[in-house]
């Protein structure tokens, strides 16, 4: 399944939830937030939100800024 992940094309092995994607990325414990198609997916819903073909996914964190 193809998704767009942080602006890059990404091929997933099969169906996946947001939680599974974060596990694959090694970010399951990182303080981060996830958007799918410009909509925030709250952490409580990561386990149930299934990704779909063509989804635009953003995984963001906090960085230094002013």
């Amino acid at each position: 399944m193809r998704i767009e992940l942080n602006g890059q094309h990404n091929e997933l092995d099969g169906p996946a939830t947001v939680a599974q994607l974060l596990l694959t990325l090694g970010l399951e414990r990182a303080p981060c937030a996830v958007e799918v198609n410009a909509q925030l997916v709250r952490k409580a819903l990561h386990h149930t939100h299934a990704l779909a073909e063509g989804d635009r996914v953003e995984v963001v964190t906090l960085v230094g800024g002013g």
Partner: protein, 304 residues
């Protein structure tokens, strides 16, 4: 005349006269209240542009700030070094203020605000409740887009955020943002990172008067924070002398040759400016006014 106009809200927070003989250190400033938030330091500092995290940590410490700003950005999925800025911030004593830097539309600013809140909720930091709203016009000036800022402010207030609005130094848009529910309006001293200080002091003064003077529909308690453009400590003194409640800066510390010492200087400047604003400066005069008495001089005075 400006001094007289500002007396009302300056006096509203007037402290007893300081006895210099018994006050070897400055008395503590009253805390800064922004919506339901209370900050012990009126200096808010950014966390960007430091050469390393250790310098950032030391500079934050030296600044005395208990609130720091951060930005929301993509996780680096390829080059994940594993080091997060969050590992270098004392989250137990700092309130994190997430910004929407890099947003050029109201929609993007609302998205980024929600993402920042999501992360801070996971961290259990009180900063989850607020946001420093920036909707910028373009990359060259980084000046606020007033229309987009107002639009985003309204939506974020509806969504329950305490919104601190980065704004132009324009009293009209400042009042509009306040009316839209902004908990604080933060006029730019000069463009972000420019180090030009308070480019238009009269405009900053008008923003402050509009938001804080009762006769202009303002309230002495409404917090106005000068944000952006600070290049050196005297810029902070200037902002505070104009009646600001606080100052937010990043580059002026982070890119100083000695950021930790500069952070210390900025902290002192904020105190100096606060007290200056309330001490009642002398009027400016064109000609001199001798400090030593004329009576009893033994000299020849030209023209007499």
């Amino acid at each position: 005349m400006l001094e007289a106009a500002n007396a009302e809200y300056l006096m509203s927070t007037h402290q007893p006269t300081i006895n210099a003989r018994t006050a070897p250190v400055s008395p503590a400033l009253p805390p800064l209240r922004i919506g339901s938030f209370t900050l012990n330091s009126r200096l808010v500092v950014g966390t960007g542009k430091y050469r390393d995290y250790a310098t950032m940590q030391a500079a934050i410490e030296a600044s005395g700030a208990d609130c720091v700003t951060v930005a929301v950005r993509r996780e680096r999925l390829v080059d994940a070094e594993g080091r997060s800025i969050l590992d270098f911030l004392p989250l137990e004593r700092l309130t994190i203020l997430p910004n929407t830097a890099g947003c050029f539309t109201a929609d993007d600013a609302v998205r980024v605000s929600r993402l920042g809140r999501e992360i801070l909720e996971q961290l259990g930091n009180p900063g989850a409740g607020w946001v420093k709203l920036e909707v910028l016009g373009d990359r060259t000036t980084l000046l606020p887009d007033p229309v987009g800022t107002l639009e985003a402010c309204k939506e974020l207030v509806t969504d329950g955020f305490t919104v601190l609005c980065y704004s132009s130094d324009d009293p009209i848009i400042a009042a509009r943002l306040r009316d839209a529910g902004a908990a604080s309006v933060m006029p730019a001293g000069s463009p972000i990172g420019s180090g030009r200080g308070i480019a238009n002091p009269a405009a900053i003064r008008m923003v402050i008067d509009r938001l804080k003077l009762a006769e202009q529909g303002g309230s002495a308690e409404y917090p106005v924070i000068v944000d952006a453009g600070v290049g050196t400590a005297s810029d902070i003194v200037h902002a505070m002398e104009l009646g600001a409640d606080g100052v937010l800066l990043n580059t002026g510390i982070a890119h100083a040759q000695d950021p930790v010492r500069m952070a210390h200087a900025m902290r002192l400047a904020l105190d100096a400016g606060w007290h200056t604003a309330r001490a009642g400066r002398i009027p400016r005069k064109l000609y001199a006014n001798a400090s030593s008495p004329w009576e009893g001089v033994i000299t020849h005075i030209p023209g007499e």
